[in-house]
Symmetry: C2
Subunit: 245 residues, 2 copies
DNA sequence: CGGTTCATTGATTCGCGTCAATGCAGGTGG
DNA sequence: CCACCTGCATTGACGCGAATCAATGAACCG
């Protein structure tokens, strides 16, 4: 029988992290993966585990960048705001993803928890000081930055040139691949974020996202049992609609 | 009196590059800037100077990434295509800018010359091999990647949430800052790219770009003498319209 | 049980795209 | 030298896809 969380907690139980990073659930995928035991021990001196409630702020846009993070469990939304409140979500982060720009002393975007989320928090200064001494770390950060850059360009193509239907299909495809369930006949995908989050990620409105999902449902390409769970009945059709090239 | 180029050349004279990189016009701003004389000499063994005619291809999307580049003079457009030919320009590159992703063995975007352009071409493999031996180089590449990432997010915000007028104003502001003429009363900006390039960069059509420029002209915010030259009469108004935050 | 948040659906509006025509500059060949 | 072509920018008429405005329903919660 599963351990029952206290009611006032309001979210799933957190994984018990082993005190040494060696037992951490993202040891194999975080930036720490690039380190041997000796260097890991040095990094460990900079870190603290923090838990964030759903909807709460991790990073305030424009604030001094004191800390950087690795997502351990849960998910975050990264966004920018215009003066009148228009919001654009530039990405979602999941376990293993790195959050923050090492060389910027101010954060250029905001970050909030989508779900209850556990983060591994570093002192940015400490990390910067460590970089020259641990070349594999800088190497890993460059690899991460390259991947993010490629993802950002995918998003630029989507926002600049794709239709609403193509955007939604691309988004479903993204979640599908993230679930590691590509090339199956049928895929069940969890949607932790709201329609408003999806809309602000795809440069649309909640209404358009909802209507587009409904039309995909009517076309028997997806199944919408609950709003937070989508079954992709025909992944090939989603891929075609996404205009992936 | 200026040296006259041969007519069949069809473009402005190229700067005479000193044989050693030390005399190169972008020595102070390219990735080579991060190197001392000894390491520069090692990098120099990997390079070749290449000239590209206007409109010609530098990188084919999806091709094997044999070479990387530094822009020496001129300008490039970086773009992605959808299967049906829709194009999204993800950025323009200018002297000093780095072109290519060091760790990708395939190019994920295309690149073409906007104007006659001179490039400093590296062997990618050679550069990768050099990285572990020259930490400042990797450091510099990470800094560049961070800046590009920030620029990409600006673009995502623009494409996802800004109106046509705001996009065009943002673009003018970008050129204005690039010209290093910020905070002047009046700024003259050269536009080397066509309206189609601007449209594909801003996620619009040539007609909308043209109409928006005309409306800015009618509002006495800019002056359009030639299509390739814009005078910004009221930079403050452009900044306001750009919804910069 | 009333209040709040979120998703869905419908009616209507509007910003920008599409289609089409014109003008202008530069290049080419007779 | 001029007629013709081609590429690019501009402008106008019209249509459409997605936004806006509005209402309803479902889930959750104190």
């Amino acid at each position: 029988m599963q351990f029952k969380v206290k009611a006032d907690c309001g979210h799933a139980p957190r994984p018990v992290l082993g005190e040494p990073c060696g037992h951490c659930v993202i040891r194999g995928i975080g930036i720490c993966h690039s380190l041997g035991d000796f260097d890991l021990e040095r990094l460990r001196k900079l870190i603290r585990i923090v838990n964030i409630e759903p909807g709460h702020t991790v990073i305030e846009e424009g604030a001094a960048a004191e800390y950087l993070f690795n997502v351990v469990t849960g998910s975050l939304r990264i966004f920018r705001l215009l003066a009148d409140g228009r919001r654009q979500i530039t990405g979602f982060l999941f376990p293993g993803d790195f959050l923050g720009l090492v060389f910027n002393d101010r954060h250029v975007y905001g970050a909030e928890a989508v779900q209850a989320t556990t983060l591994c928090q570093f002192s940015r200064r400490g990390l910067v000081d460590l970089l020259p001494e641990i070349p594999p770390l800088e190497h890993r950060l460059l690899q991460d930055a390259t991947n993010e850059l490629t993802a950002a360009q995918d998003q630029i193509l989507l926002l600049g040139r794709k239709t609403a239907k193509e955007r939604v299909a691309s988004f479903l495809q993204l979640l599908e691949h993230r679930a590691g369930n590509a090339d199956k006949d049928k895929v069940v995908v969890d949607i932790p974020m709201t329609r408003a989050d999806i809309a602000d990620y795809l440069g649309l409105t909640t209404e358009t996202v909802s209507r587009t999902l409904t039309s995909l449902k009517n076309a028997k390409i997806i199944q919408l049992t609950e709003p937070t769970r989508i079954e992709i009945l025909r992944p090939g059709e989603i891929a075609r609609l996404a205009s992936a090239n």
